[in-house]
Symmetry: C2
Subunit: 344 residues, 2 copies
């Protein structure tokens, strides 16, 4: 304790003890301290004890920057979201995913860095990726053309996509079979004897949205049908309202509506109601995502389950494996399921 004070005094305030200090107090070399601190096995029992008590006494905490510099490992993984912040925090899917990543990282003491790479902010992202901030990258909500110029390839660290990865990139990925999801929705509606089915799609620069539409159209075609109407929103509630209004105004006849996201389904639902249409009697409605409020009693929206949390969790585990040099499935595709409720 006297020693603690001396040290404290001799190195100014606010500055923590260093490996060197611990080594001196424990009477061993810096290398040995380093080994003990990192949990290396090759150290004799008694020295371990000595070092540990010195660490305790001095309140030693390793300096992260020095460690990163020497080991070329940052001890962090980054979740990169090429999306404007307002969008990110507006869409419950993101929260879910972040939560899943957080869970997937679990005990492994990697820090999670959240990188919102606003469109056009490639330079900044590039600096981040090359700056050695992260040992691995998780990318979600990736649009065509985002993170261009091989930013990811040059990163030099493992990359795992949550969602469909861009073509030809040798990265890992965990995705939902969105085509099948679209089929599922269409099939369900058809089985409920609907024949005039409209769809509000998501933005067509997003693979998930394209796939849902593709599956939907294929399933319809297989049944000898075609969409009663088709339009495009951006996954938001507002766009759902807007497109539903357009649908109503178009005069198109329809007895069912498939929205590519629950938020859009909710928006549409509201407009249908205002219009005096009964759900599901006049119009059956099915959404996609199965967000929490879909299960609300007052809403009870039938929806294709999008297991965002699990996807994120598995993606982060895969990333951890990749970083550790362990082999893993490089491409996981989950099968969607349906949550059938009262809107169909």
């Amino acid at each position: 304790m006297g020693r603690t004070d001396e040290l404290e005094a001799s190195r100014g305030t606010g500055r923590g003890a260093t490996l060197e200090d611990v080594a001196r107090v424990a009477g061993v070399s810096r290398a040995t301290v380093s080994r003990v601190v990192r949990g290396d096995v090759q150290v004799r029992r008694d020295k371990v004890v000595k070092v540990e008590s010195a660490v305790q006494e001095l309140g030693y905490v390793p300096n992260n920057a020095a460690r990163s510099l020497a080991s070329r490992q940052s001890g962090a993984v980054a979740l990169i979201v090429p999306e404007h912040e307002t969008r990110v925090f507006t869409d419950p899917f993101f929260s879910t995913a972040i939560s899943g990543v957080s869970a997937g990282l679990g005990a492994g003491d990697k820090q999670l860095l959240l990188v919102l790479s606003s469109p056009g902010g490639d330079a900044r992202t590039r600096r981040f990726v090359h700056g050695g901030h992260a040992d691995g990258l998780l990318v979600m909500s990736h649009h065509e053309g985002d993170l261009s110029d091989g930013i990811l390839e040059e990163a030099g660290v493992p990359v795992v996509f949550i969602g469909r990865p861009p073509e030809g990139l040798g990265a890992g990925s965990v995705d939902l079979d969105n085509v099948e999801g679209g089929r599922l929705a269409a099939r369900h509606l058809i089985e409920r004897s609907r024949r005039r089915i409209a769809m509000i799609c998501g933005p067509q620069d997003m693979p998930a949205a394209v796939d849902r539409r593709t599956g939907f159209e294929k399933e319809l075609a297989d049944a000898g049908l075609e969409p009663a109407w088709l339009s495009f929103g951006d996954f938001t509630l507002a766009s759902g309202e807007r497109e539903a209004t357009a649908l109503l105004a178009s005069g198109a006849r329809f007895d069912a509506l498939f929205a590519s996201s629950d938020l859009m389904a909710l928006g549409a639902l509201k407009k249908l109601e205002v219009q005096g249409l009964r759900v599901p009697e006049d119009v059956a409605v099915i959404g996609f995502d199965d967000i929490a409020s879909a299960a609300d009693e007052a809403i009870s929206l039938t929806s294709v389950i999008n297991p965002g949390r699990q996807m994120a969790e598995r993606a982060s585990q895969m990333l951890l494996d990749l970083i550790a040099g362990r082999e893993t499935d490089q491409q996981i595709v989950l099968r969607p399921e349906l949550a059938v409720r009262s809107t169909t």
Copy 2:
């Protein structure tokens, strides 16, 4: 370009160019390159140009760890949330706040680290805080007793609380005057000639919830009234429904209801409606937070505005100022305002 390739070849793959490389190519010293890269002014025009083109040519990106180690700055700020992850991503207030922080950090190229310090995870948080990961700390949703043992004091970096800071800690803070918020709600109801006012409070281990209740009761007392009924939820929709049901079942007479969160107000609204009570004719309802859906036409809930986004934004700006050594208000308390809509 020939030079680029040589370098590339001479240092193995995946490794970026270093300051040294840039210096060599530009024909200047490392110190000069460093100055240019950091935007130091003391460099002659022509050298700046040379360095910049060398940087360009080599695709040089500074190594963060080395920079941190040398400068004793991490280039990041952490948002510490002593809350279980499930809670964090369930409460819209958090999203709002994160979004605000993100905005407040803005151009300043600080990274945002999200640290979910689950209860009991103090050791881990301590390691983080002492590890030099962040140049400043933002703390939100802090409960009594969280982050104990002076973890924050020893951090050695500026700390700003979003919300009410623990007693006696010399940290900055940005908070809403929740007492005044409670008063505002009560006063509004009283002015609307309501005399039998019930309240669904939030969890009493959260300062904000306690304060809202305090303000409410004080304002009532000032008018010679007392609460018609009082109970406690946890800010969720479900708890609002539950407590409203209890209120209805209690047989208490009331002509107004103040809920400590919009989510609870919404839950209550639903139950009142089911019960056939007209709002605002039979019961005036006022919430707290002014979440997005409160403004929905179909809901149009009167609510006390909780400017979570601004709070977070100002807090992060304050933190940036503190880190830069600039002086700032250490304690900002925002005054709440009312969004008057059709439920009162």
